[in-house]
Symmetry: C2
Subunit: 286 residues, 2 copies
């Protein structure tokens, strides 16, 4: 039985409940972060905290009272749940004033809801999937226009994951105006002639914490990085592909819509970046 | 203290809680309906039930066990909460298998969550707003691409309502590719030269229950109806405007982005349709 955190209390997971009037339940009015745990330590924690603050600001959402204690809460959950490798999920919602209205509740009197829980994933960094690589299905991107804000509006990404599964694939890449935006829960990259190509930051994609770190490490390793939109046909003709996310780190892509990339096995750039990312991010884990 | 319904139980509203792992809370994986109550009776109930079933089907979501008893549950809540005029809100979610995953939980073993609650709105049909009309702000439509499914992904409509409020307006109309899609929680109409113009049904807008009824009554009354997209400039130059929704019925629009429509007071077509709608829908209330 996990211990989870809800608004100041550490509770058994089966007792962790929120009001039916919570705005995340009624109106998807909430934001979240997922931080990886490796060897009992938090990866890229500062980056996740900074992005959380930005998400809250963009939605004019109040910081939860415990904002300054988030590192302690993360650590306490990792400790009590004995997480060696895994994740800490955090969600902040606009809370509830006890009823339903499109108009935001009074900011002064309505406290945000803060929920955190862990997921244990032994051997997270040694995922067998990283040896096999991902098979990707391309689908239309039907999400809303502010994907830079990490909201809980995840119904379409969830549907996309199901479409991929049904098609015998591992994940989906989403396409808008002919160009790939990103994966259902990760940023998307291709490699062509030793050049790493990934979409530039905008409101169209999540500003991945892992993306920022991986691009920095790539540049430090003298790799050539180009930030621009790419088409799905360009992706299918690439030498290799990969995705990045907080929980998958750097994960090779070996197939798109049934078309093998390169020789259909994880490519050298993705492999090397995964190694570098895991090495470097462990050094700054807290 | 209201009595609300949560998964088979009638509870005091302050005890009405759902798991933090509910997919509506974590992933906006839920759909809803709002049915008006006038004189203690439910307006257009059959239409709402049919649309709920369609929303569930479109998302491959299971019907809650109590689906066939929904009329009884609505009536019981209206009775115990002594609702003369008001609303019944209903939400179905994909439930929870006790953890978080983009992949849908097992359909066989995971029960949907069913929540219903009432809102008392004395004099709902005699709203003073209907005498004054609405001032509208136009904003970009940033919502996802399946607005025909009535999901709880209402963050952007909620933000739109706040943008309108900040601009001294009552509501917002959303614009995509130069054309009005709809209001934040209602369908949008203009009237020009006695012709009622409203966007045709597609994935771009909600398939309003009140919209269907109002258009039927308009045609029965020999009014000219044209279903096509219209621009915001066309709207500003219209003789009058209005919106329809389950809780606002037919509500006149008198101003868009500071530009008065006609003489800036509720127009005759909107007034007449409101009257007809209220008369006719009361006849079929249950």
């Amino acid at each position: 039985m996990r211990t989870v955190y809800v608004n100041g209390d550490y509770l058994p997971e089966t007792e962790a409940k929120i009001s039916i009037f919570d705005r995340a339940f009624l109106m998807a009015d909430g934001v979240y972060e997922v931080t990886s745990v490796l060897g009992g330590k938090l990866i890229d924690f500062a980056g996740h905290l900074t992005r959380l603050e930005r998400s809250l600001d963009e939605l004019d959402m109040k910081k939860p009272a415990a904002f300054d204690n988030l590192l302690d809460i993360h650590r306490e959950l990792v400790r009590v749940n004995e997480i060696e490798d895994g994740l800490v999920y955090l969600q902040v919602t606009r809370g509830s004033d006890g009823d339903r209205d499109f108009v935001f509740p009074d900011r002064e009197t309505t406290e945000p809801t803060l929920v955190l829980f862990t997921q244990s994933k032994p051997g997270l960094a040694q995922s067998p999937q990283a040896e096999k690589g991902l098979k990707i299905l391309s689908i239309d991107d039907l999400r809303w226009g502010r994907r830079d804000i990490k909201t809980v509006q995840l119904l379409y990404p969830s549907m996309g994951k199901m479409m991929a599964k049904k098609a015998g694939c591992d994940d989906a890449w989403m396409i808008e105006d002919g160009h790939v935006t990103e994966g259902t829960s990760n940023n998307a990259y291709i490699v062509k002639g030793n050049k790493i190509i990934t979409r530039q930051l905008s409101n169209d994609i999540l500003h991945g914490i892992t993306r920022a770190a991986v691009l920095r490490f790539a540049r430090e390793a003298q790799m050539d990085v180009e930030e621009r939109p790419f088409t799905i046909d360009e992706a299918k003709a690439a030498d290799e592909g990969f995705v990045t996310s907080a929980s998958a780190f750097v994960m090779p892509v070996v197939e798109i819509d049934g078309q093998a990339l390169g020789d259909g096995t994880p490519g050298p750039v993705a492999r090397r970046l995964r190694e570098i990312y895991l090495d470097e991010s462990l050094k700054t884990a807290v």
